[in-house]
């Protein structure tokens, strides 16, 4: 990490010169807030040397006004009272920088979204509130410090985890851009699920025919290093500078292998081939499929007769003319240094054995859609003949059952996205080979939502495929001929059906990989309740993860088809490429500063850090903040009992100053709300945008995360006589900082206990979760709290003031 030498910080208080600018925003603010009055009031506040109101302060003229005032009045802090900082903070920060003022010396008071727009009809009260908001902003501004953003170099190498079609595409795109890529695959060959499929929808392209060239491109590319039969075991470091350990398991066959197959022919050990879902046999020395990349064979040491160091059977060694077999190969740990990581670990398929009513695993002629792909594939175990496993005959009638393991509480609740189209494709494949086959498709809904999907669906109907809405409730087997009876209700015609077919194909869903939890831990990712990895933002950052420098592609993120996987892979490669092309990244200066003399190396901060960005070395008595890994949530600062961590731009002093300013007048009628930048503050903004009206007595303090809200802030608000306090953040599981809001929950619960113990009314402290779209919920929460405020007695306020006085910061 490189840090620029920091500028000397202004030391004495008398130097502080604040300029305040109150915006009318046309009538958006001035319609319900008397902006001139607010500006006149601001002029009376300490350190304020200039205070002006302006019609549109964000306009070029408005910005010029600020810039010239900075020069003329030697301003060293600027406060703008206008819209939400989420909208124009960058604009004004830039203006300050252009006038030579450090951008961290700028503060905003949100008097539009959180004042004028939500109190449209209470001009007087809204003006009073705007004054309070300006007072809070000025109080904070006086304590702002100039900050330098640190720069981190980015290693121009990438790692892609998972060699399915998404991983291959991402690796190829990055490699073609010119970056070195390590493609790590757990299985002996890249190719993934797509290699197992026969045809792809909606174009009916042969799957392996379009995939194999990409696989060999990836295998041959000078910028791609393939690490197959390998697993990532450790990831350390942070964006731009990851140190990764990869365990390369031995193949026991060297690259001299010519893939002639002589070894496999003599190998005496056979087992079902996983690639063919157990429908064909492989040997202990094998290649998973003909087009495997690398084509080098592999020895399955769990099956091979040769254990440890004893060579009992040397048939393959004798058969191999290239002398490529080496039983002495050992597992090897490779250490890589990469700047970005793309997670393309893919998905598993649902195992329908647990659905006893469908008889999978009991009735030989009930197969899964993946088994179907291998059977219908010309290179598969049956040479492309759709045969019944019971008698190897081609059935006259088949039935597809949709949503097996999807959209049901018996499997997974979500839709697996690909099964409808896959079945339609499969039914057309059957019709193509055996046009007289009678095909029934039992479905819940047919979701043919993509480009060309509806046409394919229509084609299937035209070809005579019978679609019946309503899944069979059970399947019975005719023991003599192994035919199957499907019994259920046609929900469109409201009548029962009993259909006899020769074969049933269960259209199984996609599920998260079992080892997702391990990947999640290695890379500090988050997963949704279904178990798939979460994107940083579902709309605007769909391939980023909460961890900087880590991106998602393919089914690891959610079930998707090949086209979507490839699209996402290219997007992930572009996102990773942007970082690497820049070569360095600046970190917003909201990370903690360690005061070493206060630190006791207790490790509490490291325990609550969602990013492992704090390393605590108890032996060497050293705590270290890895700034590039830190996202600035501030939960460490809230946890530290020794004031050893200063959260830059959200310091304890600044927050206390805001609390003090907000409680200067009529504290006993006010609600102090702590809102996190990403969800609850944005939710409050949204209430404003939607003009949802709520009581004027709430004062919002913005923190990056609710995890920043230290219990002492809440206590000090009560000690200052505040009637009620609201702590709010993103919904649990949706935290912008992985899981920091769980710390919020824990701290508030602890505070409730303390309040109960002290005999205080714990309803005065509320905890609520809002998304950025839940403006309505925010407004109604404030209305609800207004009732609490009304019922808080004077004695109660005095009692809390007295009991919690200790929480007030020491004044000089």
């Amino acid at each position: 990490m490189q840090e620029k030498p920091s500028q000397p910080k202004p030391n004495s208080e008398e130097d502080i010169r604040i300029g305040v600018y109150v915006c009318h925003c046309g009538l958006n603010i001035a319609g319900s807030v008397n902006a001139e009055e607010v500006a006149r009031f601001a002029a009376t506040l300490p350190h304020v040397v200039v205070s002006k109101d302006n019609r549109y302060i964000c306009s070029d003229q408005g910005q010029e006004l600020i810039k010239s005032d900075i020069q003329e009045h030697k301003l060293n802090r600027v406060v703008v009272a206008s819209c939400s900082p989420r909208l124009h903070e960058p604009t004004f920060r830039r203006a300050c920088e252009e006038a030579g003022l450090n951008k961290y010396l700028f503060e905003m008071a949100n008097i539009r979204e959180q004042c004028s727009w939500v109190h449209l009809y209470e001009k007087e009260k809204a003006t009073e509130k705007a004054k309070d908001l300006v007072r809070m902003a000025v109080a904070k501004a006086a304590l702002l410090e100039p900050e330098e953003e640190s720069e981190v170099p980015i290693i121009k190498k990438a790692m892609v985890i998972g060699g399915g079609v998404a991983g291959i595409q991402a690796a190829l795109d990055l490699a073609d851009t010119g970056y070195q890529v390590y493609l790590v695959e757990k299985e002996p060959s890249i190719g993934g699920r797509m290699a197992q499929l026969d045809k792809t929808f909606p174009t009916m392209d042969c799957s392996i025919c379009i995939l194999a060239p990409k696989m060999s491109d990836a295998g041959r590319h000078p910028n791609i290093e393939l690490l197959t039969n390998s697993e990532v075991t450790e990831v350390k470091g942070y964006i731009g500078n990851f140190r990764v350990k990869v365990l390369k398991k031995p193949r026991h066959v060297t690259e001299e292998c010519t893939a002639c197959g002589d070894c496999a022919r003599v190998c005496p050990i056979t087992t079902p081939n996983e690639f063919d879902v157990g429908l064909a046999t492989r040997r202990a020395i094998y290649t998973p499929f003909a087009q495997a990349v690398p084509s080098t064979y592999i020895i399955d040491r769990n099956l091979c007769l040769n254990k440890e160091n004893i060579i009992l059977c040397d048939k393959c060694i004798k058969a191999c003319e290239a002398r490529a077999i080496d039983f002495d190969m050992k597992p090897e740990t490779v250490e890589l240094e990469v700047g970005t990581i793309i997670v393309a670990t893919g998905a598993d398929v649902y195992d329908p054995t647990s659905l006893a009513n469908y008889g999978y695993g009991k009735f030989p002629n009930v197969i899964t859609s993946l088994e179907f792909e291998r059977l219908i594939n010309a290179g598969g175990p049956s040479g492309g003949n759709l045969i019944r496993p019971s008698d190897m005959q081609i059935p006259d009638t088949v039935a597809f059952i949709q949503c097996v393991g999807s959209r049901s509480d018996k499997g997974h609740l979500y839709c697996s996205n690909v099964c409808c189209m896959n079945t339609i494709k499969d039914s057309l494949l059957i019709k193509e080979h055996w046009p007289d086959t009678k095909i029934h498709v039992f479905y819940v809904d047919i979701r043919a939502y993509g480009k060309g999907f509806e046409d394919l669906y229509k084609r299937a109907k035209k070809e005579g495929v019978i679609f019946i809405r309503g899944l069979p409730s059970e399947i019975h087997e005719d023991r003599k001929i192994n035919n199957l009876w499907l019994i259920g209700e046609n929900t469109l015609q409201k009548e029962l059906y009993k259909v006899n077919v020769g074969m049933v194909i269960l259209s199984i869903g996609i599920e998260p990989r079992r080892d997702n939890e391990l990947v999640q831990r290695l890379l500090t990712l988050s997963r949704n309740p279904d178990g798939f990895f979460m994107e940083a933002h579902p709309k605007l950052r769909p391939v980023d993860t909460p961890t900087g420098g880590v991106f998602l592609a393919g089914c690891a993120e959610s079930p998707k088809d090949i086209k979507d996987s490839v699209t996402q892979a290219s997007a992930a490669a572009a996102r990773a490429g942007i970082l690497m092309a820049k070569g360095r990244i600046t970190a917003e200066a909201i990370t903690p500063e360690l005061i070493a003399e206060n630190c006791t190396v207790c490790g509490l901060c490291a325990r609550v850090c969602p990013y492992n960005a704090i390393s605590v070395d108890k032996e060497r008595k050293k705590t270290e903040i890895i700034e590039a890994a830190c996202a600035g949530c501030g939960t460490c600062g809230a946890e530290c009992p020794f004031d050893a961590l200063i959260m830059r731009n959200f310091t304890d002093e600044q927050i206390y100053a805001q609390i003090d300013a907000a409680t200067e007048q009529d504290a006993d009628k006010k609600i102090m709300a702590f809102c996190c930048n990403w969800c609850s503050y944005a939710g409050a903004d949204f209430a404003g945008v939607s003009r949802m009206q709520y009581p004027t007595n709430v004062r919002i303090i913005r923190t990056m995360c609710s995890g920043r809200v230290a219990p002492k802030f809440v206590e000090s608000a009560f000690a200052r006589g505040t009637a009620a306090v609201l702590v709010s953040g993103c919904h649990l599981g949706d935290c912008h900082y992985i899981n920091a809001n769980y710390q919020t929950k824990r701290r508030v619960e602890k505070l409730w206990k303390k309040m109960e113990r002290l005999g205080l009314n714990k309803d005065r402290l509320q905890l609520a979760w809002f998304t950025a779209a839940e403006g309505e919920k925010f407004a109604s929460k404030i209305k609800e709290m207004q009732e609490i405020v009304k019922n808080v007695s004077e004695e109660e306020i005095e009692k809390s003031k007295a009991l919690l006085a200790k929480a007030l910061p020491e004044k000089d």
């Binding site: 996983e274 879902v277 157990g278 064909a280 059977c313 398929v349 195992d351 175990p381 045969i387 079992r514």
Partner: protein
């Protein structure tokens, strides 16, 4: 690939693994038991009978499991055991 593998592979009957014929020259055996111990497929076991040297020679438990690795022949100190491929011309 977590989909449970439970079927008999379709080609299971077509895969031809050479069948073994195990020959034990009982009276050469001195009963060291190496062949029994080292056989990777556990094809052999001690028999009840006594040979001319007064020891229990091995006997074949399950000839079908033999993979013709010939390791028994390699470890036998007395050249008392060997395996050959069965002539399956007429079908085994």
């Amino acid at each position: 690939m977590p989909l449970r593998i439970w079927r008999k592979p379709l080609d299971a009957d077509k895969i031809k693994i050479p069948q073994a014929e195990i020959h034990i020259i009982k009276d050469r055996c001195k009963g060291c038991g190496f062949c029994i111990e080292f056989c990777p497929r556990e094809v052999l076991e001690t028999s009840e009978e006594l040979n001319v040297r007064g020891v229990h020679p091995p006997k074949v438990k399950d000839e079908n499991k033999c993979t013709l690795c010939h390791f028994c022949a390699a470890v036998c100190p007395d050249f008392a055991i060997f395996s050959i491929e069965k002539d399956c011309g007429g079908g085994c």
